[in-house]
């Protein structure tokens, strides 16, 4: 969880980078992130579209998604949704697919994700067939793209209850 130890580390990190704002290159020093096939996408999740830097407050706000969801909290319709709600986490994952932020995962976007996760290890035909199958299973309104609502209902995503609720770094 983003508890005292976590925040301390984050602050140390930002001091280490010793700038008021982060750029995408700053994340490059994190070895495990560079080894992660979707590392670049995770990094761009921190930056608003069109912006090239992220300030500390926004940085922390995004990390706050990863605090465990408090399922016992009573739902008050008036309060804004907390950063770590299940929906927000799903949205974060959705946006890893939907890079142009148009609210839908197109076939091409899906292919791109598959390509980065699998790169040279599979053939183009295999990639196409994997993507085809995934879209067919998820695309309920037959518009050849996966919207956020459809994403939530995808088998596997809809029931990842425990995983997401306890999702913490």
């Amino acid at each position: 969880a983003v508890g005292p130890k976590g925040i301390f580390r984050v602050i140390e990190r930002s001091e280490q980078w010793s700038v008021g704002e982060l750029e995408p290159e700053d994340f490059g020093a994190i070895r495990e992130l560079s080894m992660n096939p979707i590392g670049d996408r995770i990094i761009s999740a921190f930056f608003s579209p069109g912006k090239e830097t992220v300030d500390f407050a926004s940085f922390v706000r995004i990390l706050a998604h990863f605090h465990p969801t408090e399922t016992s909290r009573s739902r008050d319709g008036v309060q804004p949704e907390p950063a770590n709600s299940r929906t927000r986490k799903l949205k974060f994952a959705f946006q890893l697919y939907d890079q142009d932020r148009d609210g839908k995962i197109s076939r091409e976007e899906l292919l791109q994700v598959l390509r980065t996760m699998l790169e040279m290890q599979v053939t183009e035909e295999q990639l196409q067939s994997i993507a085809e199958r995934a879209i067919q299973e998820a695309d309920l309104d037959q518009d050849d793209a996966i919207s956020f609502d459809e994403f939530r209902k995808v088998r596997g995503v809809d029931l990842i209850r425990d995983q997401i609720d306890n999702w913490e770094y």
Binding site: V2, P4, K5, G6, F8, R9, V10, E12, R13, Q16, S18, F27, G28, A29, I30, R31, E32, L33, S34, M35, N36, P37, I38, G39, I42, L63, F66, F92, A93, L96, Y97, V113, L114, M117, L118, E119, M120, Q121, V122, Q126, I130, R133, A134, A138, I146, F151, V154, R155, G156, V157, D158, L159, I160, R161, D162, Q163, I164, W167, Y169
Partner: protein, 460 residues
């Protein structure tokens, strides 16, 4: 007015006399207890006594903090222990299966196919690494479990008790008011003597006398510098000390490493020529005995560097070379990848492990955070620098290994002896970026899970 001046004059005289006396006493004490033993290489044991006293004090202070925290129900920030920091590596396959298992109750023994939820695994790992990754941990100072009365090393410092605060204040006074000036004086003395005497020796013709004197002078000045830092060093296995024609290889935590090693033996230093005070010292040192200094332009030329090193090593009258293969300062909890250059030359390698005791003061130099002067001031205002040096038995490159394997073997030996973690990573990463080949590994693992290996596919 004249009566007033009469009143002040004797008083003035008295103050001057007192000042004169105290200065003389001060310098005599300095000479007798510190400089003379440094010249002869003996020790009164004052520093060890000092160390024992400090330890007892720290224990008391830590107990007080813990007791105080319990009383006030403060949440004590407990840093992770000294044990190996690596997480339990779970395989990619296991974790993804875990994610899928929680999502559906499909039979997972059948061939797993891509699921959109798989991305959660990669996302979580990615963010985990942003929060906390293995390599960057090595570059921040080690976090202590006990408190050594230096606020800079403690995150729990808030008001616990009057006694503790008084003690801390007293400590501050002693360190900055007494120890720091003393040490700065010693440091200047040591460095000044080094420059002056080596220049003198440089005037002598080459021969046994010159080498002998040079050795004595170097040792003496380094010993004074050791006392200037109040460094309490324990040398182990001195029978393995590096000999002429060899290369001494050690792990690197701070620029002080040089002083620590050079006060126990004579080495030829390797490095880039700097400007300023450092440059003056370097230039005068090389007058007395051959060190290997490179101009900035020469440093990039690997062949030139290798040639000069191997020329030096072949001449058996020259001193063993001292090299820090990590290339940068690491925080003394682990050993990073050794650069292979020095292992390529074919000389005997004498590994040395240096481990600092962090209870007394953190010797790690985070060069991206502090400049050199800032760092030295911090060192000189700490309580003491306590470290252990192990001389490991000499190693040579075997017929069937290449330079990299040899370097790793030496690194493993040093890490094992010093109780440090052996990390297979490049110290240059503190500032640089990662190569793409490592991303491929993750991709291979994932694709293996989904579509099998190329061999499987070609078979089907």
């Amino acid at each position: 007015l004249s009566s007033l001046s009469l009143f002040f004059n004797p008083f003035d005289n008295l103050v001057c006399i007192l000042l004169g006396i105290s200065l003389t006493v001060w310098f005599t004490l300095l000479l007798v207890f510190i400089i003379v033993p440094a010249i002869f290489g003996v020790s009164f044991g004052i520093r060890r006594l000092y160390m024992k006293t400090l330890l007892k004090l720290f224990e008391w202070a830590t107990l007080r903090i813990e007791r105080g925290a319990k009383e006030n129900n403060h949440h004590l920030y407990k840093p992770y222990s000294n044990a190996i920091i690596a997480r339990e590596p779970t395989s990619l396959e296991e974790e993804i299966k875990e994610i899928r298992r929680s999502g559906s109750n499909r039979d997972l023994d059948s061939a797993p196919e891509f699921e959109m939820s798989d991305i959660f695994y990669f996302a979580r790992r990615g963010v985990e690494s942003i929060m906390d990754d293995e390599v960057t941990k090595r570059f921040s100072a080690e976090e202590l479990e006990s408190w050594n009365l230096l606020t800079r090393s403690n995150n729990n410092f808030h008001y616990i008790s009057l006694r503790l605060t008084v003690l801390w204040g007293l400590g501050l006074l002693i360190r900055y008011g007494f120890l720091l000036p003393l040490r700065v004086t010693l440091a200047f003395t040591g460095v000044g003597l080094l420059v002056f005497l080596t220049c003198l020796i440089g005037l002598l013709p080459s021969g046994r006398l010159k080498n002998f004197l040079s050795e004595k002078v170097h040792l003496m000045c380094y010993r004074i510098c050791v006392r200037a830092l109040t460094a309490i060093i324990t040398y182990h296995n001195s029978e393995n000390k590096p000999k002429n024609g060899g290369i001494c290889v050690a792990n690197h935590t701070s620029p002080i490493d040089v002083i620590i090693l050079a006060s126990d033996g004579c080495y030829a230093m390797v490095g880039q020529i700097h400007g300023g005070l450092m440059g003056v010292i370097q230039r005068s040192m090389v007058k007395a005995c051959p060190h290997i200094w490179f101009e900035r332009s020469e440093v990039k030329d690997r062949h030139l560097v290798a040639k000069r090193l191997s020329d030096h090593v072949e001449d058996k009258t020259k001193l063993p070379i001292l090299i820090f293969p990590e290339g940068t300062c690491i925080n003394n909890t682990s050993v990073m990848m050794f650069k292979k250059g020095s292992f390529d030359i074919g000389a005997t390698v004498y590994p040395v492990a240096i481990k600092y005791d962090p209870r007394f003061g953190d010797a790690f130099w985070n060069s991206s955070k502090f400049g050199m002067v800032n760092y030295l001031l911090r060192m000189m205002s700490s309580w003491a620098i306590v470290c252990s040096v192990w001389y490991l038995p000499p190693m040579s490159r075997e017929a069937d290994e290449d330079a990299v394997q040899f370097a790793n073997r030496v690194k493993a030996a040093i890490a094992r002896q010093g109780g440090l973690v052996d990390l297979l990573w490049d110290g240059g990463l503190k500032r640089g970026k990662v190569k793409d080949t490592f991303k491929e590994e993750q991709q291979k693992l994932y694709s293996k899970m989904l579509v099998g290996t190329p061999e499987d596919r070609s078979r089907s």
